[in-house]
């Protein structure tokens, strides 16, 4: 906030912007020039027509020559306009590219920063500690399991079975039907490979 008097605030205008502006102004000037010439051509055409009506052929012809020359000028400015606009586009595109590159750079740098925060050793240590933790848990499980006697285990199993029985729906009692269902019989033979040719034994080639 130091400079109250000068308006030297941070500008967002780059040197490229200035170059683009100059080119665009050149383009504007060319367009204005074209407009001027086109109006002159229009005027000459009218005038030539009028002269022809009045029978002044020579002068009309002269005017048409002048008109032709002006038309060539328009064509030339068209080409120049093309060049200028091409350059403007190139410049603007280069700026876009630069911005993309800059953001890639920033992205890359912050990725590096984040990577710096955890080293490989840290990760190895964490993984090691996790492994230890899992092993310890396993030990605890084993100790806890060991506290129960065989009878206890049996009681647990029974209770487990009881709960399952209560929760499961009853099996439909229709034994008589079972015999009526025809199931395919188990094949008695080993399945044969379909194509015998495949299991040809390798034969050594004669030299």
């Amino acid at each position: 906030m130091g400079n109250i008097f000068g308006n030297k605030k941070t500008t967002r205008i780059t040197e490229q912007d200035k170059a683009v502006l100059q080119l665009k102004q050149q383009r504007d000037k060319l367009k204005q020039y074209q407009k001027k010439i086109l109006s002159v051509i229009e005027k000459d055409k009218e005038l030539a027509r009028k002269l022809l009506r009045e029978g002044k052929k020579e002068r009309a012809k002269l005017l048409l020559k002048k008109k032709r020359y002006q038309e060539q000028l328009v064509e030339k400015t068209d080409k120049q306009l093309d060049t200028v606009e091409q350059l403007v586009h190139d410049l603007e595109y280069a700026q876009v590219e630069m911005e993309v590159l800059n953001s890639l750079k920033t992205g890359n740098e912050s990725l590096k920063e984040v990577h710096k925060l955890f080293s490989i050793e840290d990760i190895e240590q964490i993984m090691e500690e996790t492994k230890e933790g899992i092993e310890k848990q396993k030990e605890i499980d084993e100790i806890l399991a060991g506290v129960l006697t065989a009878e206890d285990e049996e009681a647990v199993d029974m209770e487990f079975a009881e709960i399952i029985r209560q929760n499961l729906p009853d099996v439909p009692v229709s034994d008589s039907n079972i015999s009526e269902v025809e199931l395919p019989s188990v094949p008695t033979e080993e399945p044969k490979p379909k194509n015998e040719k495949i299991i040809r034994k390798p034969v050594p080639l004669s030299a």
Partner: protein
Amino acid sequence: MEFTWPWEYDFPPFFTLQPNLDTQRKQLEAWRKLVLDYCRHNKIFVLDVQESISLFQNKAIDRQLSTEGINQVLESLLEYNQIEWCDKAKKQCLVYWKNPQEWGNLIYRYASDKGMTNTVCTFYELTAGDDVQNEEFAGMDQSLLVKALKTLEATNKAEIIMFGGNEGVKFF
């Protein structure tokens, strides 16, 4: 499209400043509206007082607002921030049928619609370019354009570029 004059325009007393202050206030209000509507319709950005004498007279009813009356109307417009003098002699004024802030917003909307943010534009292409012919700000006076862009500058939406005879603006 023909400009539709308000009913007051065919009402002879409209062209004489009314002595009753209450009536005069209403009269001036109607005049202000007429000037703004007329300029909006004819896309007049800069009003030349001498040249727009026809606005203050109605030949059909043979009435004309006096010079004093015209001045009063203009003073009233100035009071309401609807005009701004271009010169000290008070010969020309910018007419704000849209104020600079509104113009700024309009131009900014145009620029962002066209994807022209982050792009440099010349003043010429904004007011006389082929692409803006159908925009309301086509043909805008440059001093008004600068005022409008300055309002954008104040909100960091644009920055005016001026160096060595080059004039343009960059939108953000």
